[in-house]
Amino acid sequence: MSDPSNEGTDRDSLFDAPPMAEQERMVEAILFASADPVSVKDLNDRMPHGCDAAEALMHLRKRYEGRGVQVSHVGDAWAMRTASDLGFLMQRETVETRKLSRAAIETLAIISYHQPVTRAEIEEIRGVGVSRGTVDQLLEMEWIRFGRRRMTPGRPVTFVVTQEFLDHFGLESARDLPGLAELRAAGLLESRPLPSGIPMAGEGDLDAEEEFDFGQSELFED
Protein backbone atom coordinates (compact mmCIF):
# COMPACT_ATOMS: atom_id res chain seq x y z
CA MET A 1 0.00 0.00 0.00
CA SER A 2 2.65 2.47 -0.96
CA ASP A 3 -0.07 4.32 -2.73
CA PRO A 4 -0.64 7.39 -0.58
CA SER A 5 -4.27 7.69 -1.67
CA ASN A 6 -4.93 4.53 0.30
CA GLU A 7 -3.58 5.89 3.48
CA GLY A 8 -5.75 7.26 6.17
CA THR A 9 -8.93 5.77 4.83
CA ASP A 10 -11.47 4.37 7.21
CA ARG A 11 -10.67 0.87 6.14
CA ASP A 12 -7.00 1.16 7.02
CA SER A 13 -7.69 2.53 10.38
CA LEU A 14 -9.76 -0.50 11.22
CA PHE A 15 -6.76 -2.78 11.12
CA ASP A 16 -3.28 -1.91 12.12
CA ALA A 17 -0.76 -3.19 9.66
CA PRO A 18 1.76 -5.56 11.26
CA PRO A 19 5.05 -3.99 12.37
CA MET A 20 7.63 -3.61 9.62
CA ALA A 21 9.82 -6.35 11.13
CA GLU A 22 6.88 -8.69 10.80
CA GLN A 23 6.21 -7.59 7.26
CA GLU A 24 9.81 -8.30 6.45
CA ARG A 25 9.42 -11.85 7.80
CA MET A 26 6.36 -12.28 5.63
CA VAL A 27 8.12 -11.15 2.50
CA GLU A 28 11.00 -13.43 3.40
CA ALA A 29 8.74 -16.46 3.79
CA ILE A 30 6.80 -15.77 0.61
CA LEU A 31 9.89 -15.25 -1.51
CA PHE A 32 11.41 -18.38 -0.03
CA ALA A 33 8.46 -20.64 -0.69
CA SER A 34 7.39 -19.25 -4.04
CA ALA A 35 8.19 -21.27 -7.10
CA ASP A 36 8.37 -18.12 -9.21
CA PRO A 37 9.60 -14.60 -8.64
CA VAL A 38 6.91 -12.50 -6.94
CA SER A 39 5.99 -8.95 -7.87
CA VAL A 40 5.45 -6.23 -5.27
CA LYS A 41 1.80 -6.21 -6.20
CA ASP A 42 1.52 -9.95 -5.57
CA LEU A 43 3.27 -9.53 -2.25
CA ASN A 44 0.87 -6.82 -1.20
CA ASP A 45 -2.07 -8.95 -2.32
CA ARG A 46 -0.91 -11.83 -0.22
CA MET A 47 0.08 -9.89 2.86
CA PRO A 48 -2.42 -8.51 5.37
CA HIS A 49 -4.13 -5.29 4.54
CA GLY A 50 -2.05 -2.18 5.13
CA CYS A 51 1.32 -3.80 4.55
CA ASP A 52 3.99 -2.11 2.49
CA ALA A 53 5.73 -4.92 0.65
CA ALA A 54 8.05 -2.55 -1.22
CA GLU A 55 9.47 -1.18 2.00
CA ALA A 56 9.68 -4.61 3.61
CA LEU A 57 11.53 -5.82 0.55
CA MET A 58 14.13 -3.11 0.88
CA HIS A 59 14.74 -4.04 4.50
CA LEU A 60 14.98 -7.68 3.57
CA ARG A 61 17.29 -6.96 0.72
CA LYS A 62 19.61 -5.08 3.03
CA ARG A 63 19.49 -7.89 5.56
CA TYR A 64 20.65 -10.40 2.99
CA GLU A 65 23.45 -8.25 1.68
CA GLY A 66 26.65 -10.25 1.68
CA ARG A 67 24.86 -13.39 2.80
CA GLY A 68 24.90 -16.73 1.04
CA VAL A 69 21.49 -15.91 -0.37
CA GLN A 70 20.51 -12.74 -2.20
CA VAL A 71 17.22 -10.97 -2.70
CA SER A 72 17.31 -10.12 -6.36
CA HIS A 73 15.24 -8.37 -8.93
CA VAL A 74 14.04 -10.65 -11.70
CA GLY A 75 12.20 -8.71 -14.37
CA ASP A 76 9.62 -6.74 -12.43
CA ALA A 77 9.48 -9.31 -9.67
CA TRP A 78 11.60 -10.46 -6.76
CA ALA A 79 13.21 -13.73 -5.88
CA MET A 80 15.79 -15.18 -3.55
CA ARG A 81 18.78 -16.77 -5.12
CA THR A 82 21.97 -18.25 -3.81
CA ALA A 83 24.87 -15.82 -4.11
CA SER A 84 26.54 -16.21 -7.44
CA ASP A 85 30.01 -16.62 -5.95
CA LEU A 86 28.78 -19.78 -4.24
CA GLY A 87 27.60 -21.42 -7.42
CA PHE A 88 30.43 -23.91 -7.16
CA LEU A 89 28.66 -25.47 -4.18
CA MET A 90 25.75 -26.38 -6.41
CA GLN A 91 27.87 -28.50 -8.63
CA ARG A 92 28.93 -31.99 -8.02
CA GLU A 93 31.63 -33.32 -10.17
CA THR A 94 31.47 -36.92 -11.15
CA VAL A 95 34.24 -38.46 -13.12
CA GLU A 96 33.22 -41.17 -15.46
CA THR A 97 35.75 -43.37 -17.10
CA ARG A 98 34.86 -44.37 -20.59
CA LYS A 99 36.66 -46.38 -23.14
CA LEU A 100 38.10 -44.44 -26.00
CA SER A 101 36.14 -44.84 -29.21
CA ARG A 102 37.41 -47.18 -31.85
CA ALA A 103 38.08 -44.31 -34.21
CA ALA A 104 40.16 -42.57 -31.57
CA ILE A 105 42.11 -45.72 -30.71
CA GLU A 106 42.90 -46.39 -34.34
CA THR A 107 43.94 -42.82 -34.93
CA LEU A 108 46.10 -42.93 -31.85
CA ALA A 109 47.60 -46.24 -32.90
CA ILE A 110 48.52 -44.89 -36.30
CA ILE A 111 50.08 -41.80 -34.80
CA SER A 112 52.10 -43.86 -32.36
CA TYR A 113 53.35 -46.29 -34.98
CA HIS A 114 53.95 -43.78 -37.75
CA GLN A 115 54.83 -40.55 -36.01
CA PRO A 116 55.35 -37.91 -37.17
CA VAL A 117 52.31 -38.37 -39.35
CA THR A 118 49.96 -35.99 -41.14
CA ARG A 119 46.23 -36.18 -41.07
CA ALA A 120 46.14 -37.17 -44.73
CA GLU A 121 48.47 -40.04 -43.97
CA ILE A 122 46.34 -41.18 -41.07
CA GLU A 123 43.33 -41.19 -43.31
CA GLU A 124 45.15 -43.11 -45.95
CA ILE A 125 46.22 -45.78 -43.48
CA ARG A 126 42.82 -46.03 -41.82
CA GLY A 127 40.99 -45.99 -45.09
CA VAL A 128 38.39 -43.60 -43.64
CA GLY A 129 38.35 -39.95 -42.77
CA VAL A 130 39.47 -38.78 -39.37
CA SER A 131 37.12 -36.34 -37.71
CA ARG A 132 38.32 -33.13 -36.15
CA GLY A 133 36.60 -34.29 -32.95
CA THR A 134 38.75 -37.39 -32.73
CA VAL A 135 41.97 -35.46 -33.14
CA ASP A 136 40.81 -32.75 -30.74
CA GLN A 137 39.93 -35.37 -28.17
CA LEU A 138 43.40 -36.89 -28.36
CA LEU A 139 44.99 -33.46 -28.22
CA GLU A 140 42.87 -32.55 -25.22
CA MET A 141 43.84 -35.74 -23.46
CA GLU A 142 47.39 -34.69 -24.15
CA TRP A 143 48.17 -38.02 -25.68
CA ILE A 144 49.15 -36.42 -28.99
CA ARG A 145 50.55 -33.05 -29.89
CA PHE A 146 51.53 -31.20 -33.03
CA GLY A 147 54.91 -32.11 -34.43
CA ARG A 148 56.86 -30.26 -37.04
CA ARG A 149 55.28 -29.25 -40.26
CA ARG A 150 56.07 -31.55 -43.14
CA MET A 151 58.26 -29.87 -45.77
CA THR A 152 55.89 -30.80 -48.53
CA PRO A 153 53.42 -28.67 -50.48
CA GLY A 154 50.85 -27.19 -48.14
CA ARG A 155 53.26 -27.73 -45.26
CA PRO A 156 50.81 -29.96 -43.37
CA VAL A 157 51.14 -30.32 -39.62
CA THR A 158 52.17 -33.65 -38.24
CA PHE A 159 51.12 -35.39 -35.08
CA VAL A 160 53.32 -37.12 -32.56
CA VAL A 161 52.58 -38.82 -29.26
CA THR A 162 53.40 -37.12 -25.98
CA GLN A 163 55.28 -38.08 -22.86
CA GLU A 164 51.88 -38.30 -21.22
CA PHE A 165 50.95 -40.97 -23.73
CA LEU A 166 54.12 -42.94 -23.05
CA ASP A 167 53.50 -42.68 -19.30
CA HIS A 168 49.94 -43.87 -19.63
CA PHE A 169 50.88 -46.89 -21.67
CA GLY A 170 54.05 -47.56 -19.74
CA LEU A 171 56.35 -47.14 -22.68
CA GLU A 172 59.88 -45.81 -22.72
CA SER A 173 59.49 -44.54 -26.23
CA ALA A 174 57.16 -45.06 -29.14
CA ARG A 175 59.78 -47.31 -30.66
CA ASP A 176 59.02 -49.83 -27.94
CA LEU A 177 55.63 -50.50 -29.46
CA PRO A 178 55.57 -54.08 -30.73
CA GLY A 179 55.96 -54.48 -34.46
CA LEU A 180 53.60 -56.24 -36.76
CA ALA A 181 55.52 -59.51 -36.52
CA GLU A 182 55.37 -59.41 -32.76
CA LEU A 183 51.70 -58.56 -32.84
CA ARG A 184 51.13 -61.55 -35.03
CA ALA A 185 53.17 -63.75 -32.75
CA ALA A 186 51.17 -62.52 -29.78
CA GLY A 187 48.00 -63.52 -31.56
CA LEU A 188 46.88 -59.93 -31.75
CA LEU A 189 47.18 -59.83 -35.42
CA GLU A 190 45.42 -62.74 -36.93
CA SER A 191 45.62 -62.78 -40.59
CA ARG A 192 42.25 -64.27 -40.90
CA PRO A 193 41.93 -66.16 -44.10
CA LEU A 194 38.30 -66.19 -44.98
CA PRO A 195 37.86 -68.93 -47.54
CA SER A 196 34.14 -68.53 -47.84
CA GLY A 197 34.39 -64.85 -48.42
CA ILE A 198 31.83 -64.23 -45.72
CA PRO A 199 32.64 -61.52 -43.24
CA MET A 200 33.15 -62.51 -39.65
CA ALA A 201 30.25 -61.64 -37.46
CA GLY A 202 32.20 -59.41 -35.15
CA GLU A 203 34.08 -57.57 -37.79
CA GLY A 204 31.07 -56.66 -39.85
CA ASP A 205 29.06 -55.59 -36.87
CA LEU A 206 31.70 -53.37 -35.49
CA ASP A 207 32.21 -51.62 -38.73
CA ALA A 208 28.54 -50.99 -39.05
CA GLU A 209 28.42 -49.68 -35.54
CA GLU A 210 31.33 -47.39 -36.09
CA GLU A 211 29.70 -46.10 -39.19
CA PHE A 212 26.76 -45.16 -37.07
CA ASP A 213 28.57 -43.80 -34.05
CA PHE A 214 31.55 -41.98 -35.29
CA GLY A 215 31.73 -42.51 -38.98
CA GLN A 216 28.81 -40.27 -39.63
CA SER A 217 30.57 -37.22 -38.46
CA GLU A 218 33.80 -38.36 -39.93
CA LEU A 219 32.32 -38.70 -43.34
CA PHE A 220 30.87 -35.27 -43.37
CA GLU A 221 33.26 -33.21 -41.44
CA ASP A 222 36.35 -33.26 -43.48
Binding site: A35, Q91, E96, L100, I105, F169, P199
Partner: protein
Protein backbone atom coordinates in the same frame (compact mmCIF):
# COMPACT_ATOMS: atom_id res chain seq x y z
CA UNK B 1 -17.28 -58.14 -1.50
CA UNK B 2 -18.95 -61.13 -3.10
CA UNK B 3 -16.79 -63.50 -1.21
CA UNK B 4 -18.01 -67.07 -1.63
CA UNK B 5 -17.61 -67.49 2.09
CA UNK B 6 -20.54 -65.20 2.64
CA UNK B 7 -23.59 -66.98 3.90
CA UNK B 8 -26.76 -66.63 1.83
CA UNK B 9 -28.42 -64.14 4.12
CA UNK B 10 -25.47 -61.87 3.52
CA UNK B 11 -25.92 -61.83 -0.19
CA UNK B 12 -27.47 -58.42 -0.09
CA UNK B 13 -27.13 -56.24 -3.07
CA UNK B 14 -24.37 -53.73 -3.09
CA UNK B 15 -26.47 -50.73 -2.20
CA UNK B 16 -28.00 -52.48 0.78
CA UNK B 17 -24.62 -53.57 1.96
CA UNK B 18 -23.13 -50.15 1.63
CA UNK B 19 -26.07 -48.74 3.52
CA UNK B 20 -25.67 -51.39 6.19
CA UNK B 21 -21.98 -50.65 6.55
CA UNK B 22 -22.64 -46.96 6.59
CA UNK B 23 -25.04 -47.57 9.42
CA UNK B 24 -22.44 -49.45 11.39
CA UNK B 25 -19.79 -46.87 10.77
CA UNK B 26 -21.66 -43.63 11.01
CA UNK B 27 -24.14 -44.37 13.71
CA UNK B 28 -22.19 -46.58 16.00
CA UNK B 29 -18.70 -45.50 15.19
CA UNK B 30 -17.48 -48.93 16.18
CA UNK B 31 -14.51 -50.20 14.35
CA UNK B 32 -13.22 -53.18 16.24
CA UNK B 33 -13.60 -55.23 19.31
CA UNK B 34 -11.45 -53.04 21.46
CA UNK B 35 -13.21 -50.03 20.16
CA UNK B 36 -16.57 -51.33 21.26
CA UNK B 37 -15.28 -52.28 24.61
CA UNK B 38 -13.62 -48.99 24.94
CA UNK B 39 -16.75 -47.05 24.21
CA UNK B 40 -18.79 -49.28 26.47
CA UNK B 41 -16.27 -49.05 29.22
CA UNK B 42 -16.24 -45.32 28.81
CA UNK B 43 -20.00 -44.94 28.91
CA UNK B 44 -20.15 -47.03 32.07
CA UNK B 45 -17.42 -44.78 33.40
CA UNK B 46 -16.09 -47.44 35.70
CA UNK B 47 -12.97 -49.42 36.19
CA UNK B 48 -13.12 -52.41 33.93
CA UNK B 49 -12.25 -54.69 36.77
CA UNK B 50 -15.32 -53.60 38.65
CA UNK B 51 -17.89 -53.54 35.89
CA UNK B 52 -20.20 -56.40 35.37
CA UNK B 53 -18.44 -58.51 32.87
CA UNK B 54 -21.74 -60.32 32.46
CA UNK B 55 -23.46 -57.13 31.36
CA UNK B 56 -20.57 -56.17 29.22
CA UNK B 57 -20.58 -59.54 27.55
CA UNK B 58 -24.29 -59.42 27.01
CA UNK B 59 -24.07 -56.00 25.37
CA UNK B 60 -21.14 -57.05 23.39
CA UNK B 61 -22.71 -60.24 22.15
CA UNK B 62 -25.82 -58.32 21.22
CA UNK B 63 -23.71 -56.08 19.07
CA UNK B 64 -22.00 -59.05 17.52
CA UNK B 65 -25.40 -60.52 16.67
CA UNK B 66 -26.35 -57.28 15.06
CA UNK B 67 -23.11 -57.05 13.17
CA UNK B 68 -23.43 -60.63 12.06
CA UNK B 69 -26.61 -59.82 10.24
CA UNK B 70 -24.76 -57.22 8.30
CA UNK B 71 -21.45 -58.76 7.70
CA UNK B 72 -19.85 -61.98 8.65
CA UNK B 73 -16.25 -60.88 8.36
CA UNK B 74 -16.80 -58.24 10.96
CA UNK B 75 -18.49 -60.63 13.34
CA UNK B 76 -15.80 -63.26 12.87
CA UNK B 77 -13.25 -60.75 13.96
CA UNK B 78 -15.32 -59.99 17.00
CA UNK B 79 -15.88 -63.58 17.95
CA UNK B 80 -12.33 -63.79 19.19
CA UNK B 81 -13.17 -61.05 21.58
CA UNK B 82 -16.41 -62.73 22.58
CA UNK B 83 -14.57 -65.92 23.41
CA UNK B 84 -12.11 -63.85 25.36
CA UNK B 85 -14.87 -62.23 27.34
CA UNK B 86 -16.71 -65.46 28.02
CA UNK B 87 -13.47 -66.91 29.31
CA UNK B 88 -12.84 -63.85 31.41
CA UNK B 89 -16.34 -63.99 32.82
CA UNK B 90 -15.98 -67.62 33.83
CA UNK B 91 -12.71 -66.86 35.55
CA UNK B 92 -14.27 -64.05 37.50
CA UNK B 93 -17.44 -65.86 38.48
CA UNK B 94 -15.89 -69.09 39.64
CA UNK B 95 -13.95 -69.15 42.87
CA UNK B 96 -10.28 -69.38 42.09
CA UNK B 97 -9.06 -72.94 41.90
CA UNK B 98 -5.66 -73.13 43.58
CA UNK B 99 -4.67 -76.21 41.56
CA UNK B 100 -5.40 -74.59 38.25
CA UNK B 101 -2.62 -72.83 36.46
CA UNK B 102 -2.96 -69.81 34.30
CA UNK B 103 -3.98 -66.26 34.86
CA UNK B 104 -6.81 -65.27 37.12
CA UNK B 105 -9.81 -63.37 35.96
CA UNK B 106 -8.37 -60.39 37.75
CA UNK B 107 -5.18 -60.60 35.69
CA UNK B 108 -7.14 -60.84 32.51
CA UNK B 109 -9.33 -57.89 33.35
CA UNK B 110 -6.23 -55.91 34.25
CA UNK B 111 -4.68 -56.75 30.94
CA UNK B 112 -7.80 -55.77 29.09
CA UNK B 113 -7.77 -52.47 30.93
CA UNK B 114 -4.15 -51.97 29.93
CA UNK B 115 -4.90 -52.67 26.29
CA UNK B 116 -7.76 -50.22 26.28
CA UNK B 117 -5.75 -47.53 27.97
CA UNK B 118 -2.88 -48.02 25.55
CA UNK B 119 -5.14 -47.85 22.54
CA UNK B 120 -6.72 -44.68 23.85
CA UNK B 121 -3.27 -43.22 24.44
CA UNK B 122 -2.27 -44.02 20.87
CA UNK B 123 -5.41 -42.38 19.57
CA UNK B 124 -4.63 -39.28 21.55
CA UNK B 125 -1.11 -39.33 20.19
CA UNK B 126 -2.39 -39.70 16.65
CA UNK B 127 -4.59 -36.68 17.17
CA UNK B 128 -1.68 -34.69 18.62
CA UNK B 129 0.51 -35.72 15.74
CA UNK B 130 -1.97 -34.64 13.14
CA UNK B 131 -2.52 -31.37 14.96
CA UNK B 132 1.15 -30.50 14.58
CA UNK B 133 2.35 -28.01 12.04
CA UNK B 134 2.72 -29.91 8.83
CA UNK B 135 4.96 -29.44 5.87
CA UNK B 136 3.10 -28.10 2.89
CA UNK B 137 0.28 -26.87 5.10
CA UNK B 138 1.82 -24.78 7.87
CA UNK B 139 5.41 -24.52 6.85
CA UNK B 140 6.93 -24.69 3.43
CA UNK B 141 9.98 -25.79 1.60
CA UNK B 142 12.01 -23.73 -0.79
CA UNK B 143 9.96 -22.99 -3.87
CA UNK B 144 12.71 -22.48 -6.39
CA UNK B 145 14.95 -25.45 -6.34
CA UNK B 146 18.42 -25.02 -7.56
CA UNK B 147 19.23 -28.33 -9.03
CA UNK B 148 22.50 -29.76 -8.00
CA UNK B 149 24.31 -29.47 -11.20
CA UNK B 150 26.13 -32.61 -12.02
CA UNK B 151 29.32 -31.85 -13.81
CA UNK B 152 29.90 -35.06 -15.59
CA UNK B 153 33.51 -35.23 -16.40
CA UNK B 154 34.30 -38.05 -18.73
CA UNK B 155 37.77 -39.43 -18.64
CA UNK B 156 38.61 -41.49 -21.63
CA UNK B 157 40.97 -44.32 -21.30
CA UNK B 158 42.53 -47.06 -23.35
CA UNK B 159 44.98 -49.84 -22.73
CA UNK B 160 48.04 -50.84 -24.67
CA UNK B 161 46.16 -53.90 -25.86
CA UNK B 162 43.40 -51.69 -27.27
CA UNK B 163 46.03 -49.69 -29.06
CA UNK B 164 47.79 -52.68 -30.55
CA UNK B 165 44.57 -54.39 -31.50
CA UNK B 166 43.44 -51.19 -33.16
CA UNK B 167 46.62 -51.02 -35.14
CA UNK B 168 46.47 -54.69 -36.03
CA UNK B 169 42.93 -54.21 -37.25
CA UNK B 170 43.96 -51.48 -39.64
CA UNK B 171 47.01 -53.28 -40.93
CA UNK B 172 45.12 -56.46 -41.67
CA UNK B 173 42.20 -54.78 -43.30
CA UNK B 174 43.59 -55.39 -46.77
CA UNK B 175 43.55 -59.10 -46.18
CA UNK B 176 39.83 -59.16 -45.83
CA UNK B 177 37.81 -59.60 -48.95
CA UNK B 178 34.79 -57.44 -48.78
CA UNK B 179 31.62 -59.47 -48.87
CA UNK B 180 30.09 -59.32 -52.30
CA UNK B 181 27.68 -62.00 -53.37
CA UNK B 182 29.02 -63.71 -56.41
CA UNK B 183 25.92 -63.55 -58.54
CA UNK B 184 27.50 -65.47 -61.36
CA UNK B 185 27.27 -68.73 -59.53
CA UNK B 186 23.84 -68.21 -58.09
CA UNK B 187 20.71 -69.51 -59.76
CA UNK B 188 18.01 -67.51 -58.07
CA UNK B 189 14.66 -68.78 -56.92
CA UNK B 190 12.95 -66.35 -59.28
CA UNK B 191 14.87 -67.73 -62.24
CA UNK B 192 14.13 -71.31 -61.25
CA UNK B 193 10.45 -70.54 -60.78
CA UNK B 194 10.19 -68.94 -64.14
CA UNK B 195 11.91 -71.85 -65.81
CA UNK B 196 9.85 -74.46 -63.98
CA UNK B 197 6.54 -72.69 -64.64
CA UNK B 198 7.24 -72.71 -68.34
CA UNK B 199 8.28 -76.33 -68.47
CA UNK B 200 5.88 -78.04 -66.07
CA UNK B 201 2.92 -77.46 -68.38
CA UNK B 202 4.31 -80.04 -70.74
CA UNK B 203 4.95 -82.78 -68.21
CA UNK B 204 2.03 -84.87 -67.14
CA UNK B 205 4.31 -87.66 -65.97
CA UNK B 206 6.56 -87.94 -62.97
CA UNK B 207 9.87 -86.46 -63.97
CA UNK B 208 13.07 -86.10 -61.96
CA UNK B 209 13.48 -82.58 -60.68
CA UNK B 210 17.09 -82.81 -61.72
CA UNK B 211 16.11 -82.70 -65.35
CA UNK B 212 14.61 -79.25 -64.96
CA UNK B 213 17.97 -77.78 -64.04
CA UNK B 214 19.37 -75.31 -66.50
CA UNK B 215 22.07 -76.39 -68.91
CA UNK B 216 25.63 -75.95 -67.84
CA UNK B 217 24.84 -75.88 -64.13
CA UNK B 218 25.72 -79.48 -63.46
CA UNK B 219 29.47 -79.29 -63.81
CA UNK B 220 30.52 -76.65 -61.31
CA UNK B 221 29.63 -78.00 -57.84
CA UNK B 222 28.92 -74.49 -56.57
CA UNK B 223 26.56 -73.76 -59.42
CA UNK B 224 25.00 -77.20 -59.11
CA UNK B 225 24.25 -76.67 -55.43
CA UNK B 226 22.68 -73.32 -56.08
CA UNK B 227 20.58 -74.52 -59.01
CA UNK B 228 19.40 -77.61 -57.13
CA UNK B 229 18.34 -75.59 -54.15
CA UNK B 230 16.46 -72.98 -56.13
CA UNK B 231 14.80 -75.48 -58.45
CA UNK B 232 13.61 -77.51 -55.45
CA UNK B 233 12.31 -74.39 -53.76
CA UNK B 234 10.55 -73.39 -56.97
CA UNK B 235 8.91 -76.81 -57.21
CA UNK B 236 7.58 -76.45 -53.69
CA UNK B 237 6.19 -73.07 -54.62
CA UNK B 238 4.32 -74.59 -57.58
CA UNK B 239 2.91 -77.32 -55.33
CA UNK B 240 1.72 -74.64 -53.00
CA UNK B 241 0.05 -72.89 -55.91
CA UNK B 242 -1.69 -76.17 -56.75
CA UNK B 243 -0.08 -76.44 -60.15
CA UNK B 244 2.23 -79.37 -59.51
CA UNK B 245 2.62 -82.53 -57.43
CA UNK B 246 5.82 -83.72 -55.91
CA UNK B 247 7.02 -87.10 -54.65
CA UNK B 248 10.06 -88.88 -53.38
CA UNK B 249 10.05 -92.66 -52.99
CA UNK B 250 12.55 -92.72 -50.12
CA UNK B 251 15.18 -90.63 -48.43
CA UNK B 252 17.78 -89.35 -50.88
CA UNK B 253 15.90 -90.86 -53.80
CA UNK B 254 15.38 -88.56 -56.75
CA UNK B 255 12.62 -86.02 -56.28
CA UNK B 256 9.97 -86.16 -58.95
CA UNK B 257 7.41 -83.62 -60.07
CA UNK B 258 4.49 -83.59 -62.45
CA UNK B 259 1.76 -81.24 -63.52
CA UNK B 260 -1.38 -81.32 -61.47
CA UNK B 261 -4.27 -82.21 -63.74
CA UNK B 262 -6.90 -79.94 -62.25
CA UNK B 263 -5.27 -76.94 -60.71
CA UNK B 264 -6.83 -75.97 -57.40
CA UNK B 265 -8.19 -72.51 -57.30
Amino acid sequence: MTDPKDTPELQLNVIDRLAAEAFVIDVDGFEGPLDILLSMARTQKVDLRKISILDLSRQYLRFVEQAKELRLELAADYLVMAAWLAFLKSRLLLPPDPTEEGPSGEDLAAHLAFQLERLQAMRDCAAKLMARDQKGRDFFVRGILEQMERLRKVRYTATLIDLMQGYARIRTKDEFRPFVLDRQKVFTMEEALERLRGMIGFTGQWTDLDSYMPDGWHDDPVKWRSATASTFAASLELVKEGRAEIQQSESFAPIQVRRRETPRE
